[in-house]
């Protein structure tokens, strides 16, 4: 894994407060990037293999245990930003051969069906909208949460694992020309709901 040619890391990462973390642990940063991003890219035919989701949960855990609980919010933001960038690249690859999208609902249906199938090997179970820019995507068996026990024990930790996927959706939508805010909530494992709020410019 090469480091960037001029030694500086991309400005988006530096602005998000990565710089001090990077300065102290260059090797650590590279090992964080390799499992999540490279293994998602490796499925160049469009199919992210099952191993990529397990790699992601490993590094989510490794990443969050390094920081104290008080910096949990910053961790989640960083994970979401990473998901954003990955989502942009993924959407470019997946929409290469699809027809042009007619409207917003068409784009959301694409995210629910093709995008989710290619990344998580299943479709979104339920899509609801109020036709005023709010969409709720419900997944009853979210792949990143199936490995955790289906009770109340890990409910508060589940949001860490959803942050990357929220960024993924937000990045994909932004590349298709839709600015949005994506949040996730878990009421009972392993089901989760992603709420997408479209921001009209």
């Amino acid at each position: 894994m090469k480091s960037p040619p001029d030694g500086r890391f991309p400005p988006r990462l530096a602005a998000g407060g990565w710089a001090p973390l990077l300065a102290q642990s260059r090797g650590g940063f590279e090992s964080l990037w390799v499992p999540g991003v490279v293994s998602l890219r490796a499925g160049s035919s469009g199919h992210a293999g099952p191993e990529s989701s397990y790699d992601r949960s490993d590094y989510v855990q490794g990443f969050t245990t390094r920081k104290k609980a008080t910096e949990n919010g910053r961790c989640i933001t960083k994970l979401e930003n990473m998901g954003f960038r990955v989502g942009q690249g993924l959407i470019e690859r997946f929409t290469k051969d699809t027809a042009r999208f007619k409207d917003e609902l068409d784009i959301m249906k694409f995210i629910c069906k093709d995008f989710w199938t290619t990344v998580f090997k299943k479709q979104i179970d339920n899509l609801r909208t109020n036709h005023q820019g709010i969409y709720v995507l419900q997944d009853n068996k979210f792949r990143l949460l199936t490995q955790m026990s289906a009770g109340k024990q890990y409910l508060e930790h589940a949001s860490k694992y959803l942050a990357f996927t929220c960024g993924l959706i937000r990045g994909g939508l932004s590349n298709l020309g839709i600015k949005s805010i994506v949040t996730a909530e878990v009421s009972s494992m392993p089901a989760c709901k992603f709420q997408v709020m479209i921001q009209k410019l």
Partner: protein, 141 residues
Amino acid sequence: MAVCVAVIAKENYPLYIRSVPTENELKFHYMVHTSLDVVDEKISAMGKALVDQRELYLGLLYPTEDYKLRRYGYVTNSKVKFVMVVDSSNTALRDNEIRSMFRKLHNSYTDVMCNPFYNPGDRIQSRAFDGMVTSMMIQVC
């Protein structure tokens, strides 16, 4: 063989523009700039046009009196536009060849997008992309 290839971002500024270094390149830059209006018009008229509005390839943008240089357009789903100026004096290029050239461009652009060290919105500086465009450009002897 292409004479000028340009990749324009969603916000209508060039991410990559390269032309055959013969006369003033400014002429090609100007041509690409004027074609942007035509591209926008074609996309917005999609709903009413009889043409298959689900396609990404736009075809010949507009007829000019200068029959040698033709401009072709292609818009991706992420609103990134590719404009190509082609010199058709040597060989009559068929539609399929132009489509395959745009396909290659789109594939290389996707690879650039997935590069984690590339920030979307920056100028494209990838050597692989340059190599692919060189293979498409006219051989100036």
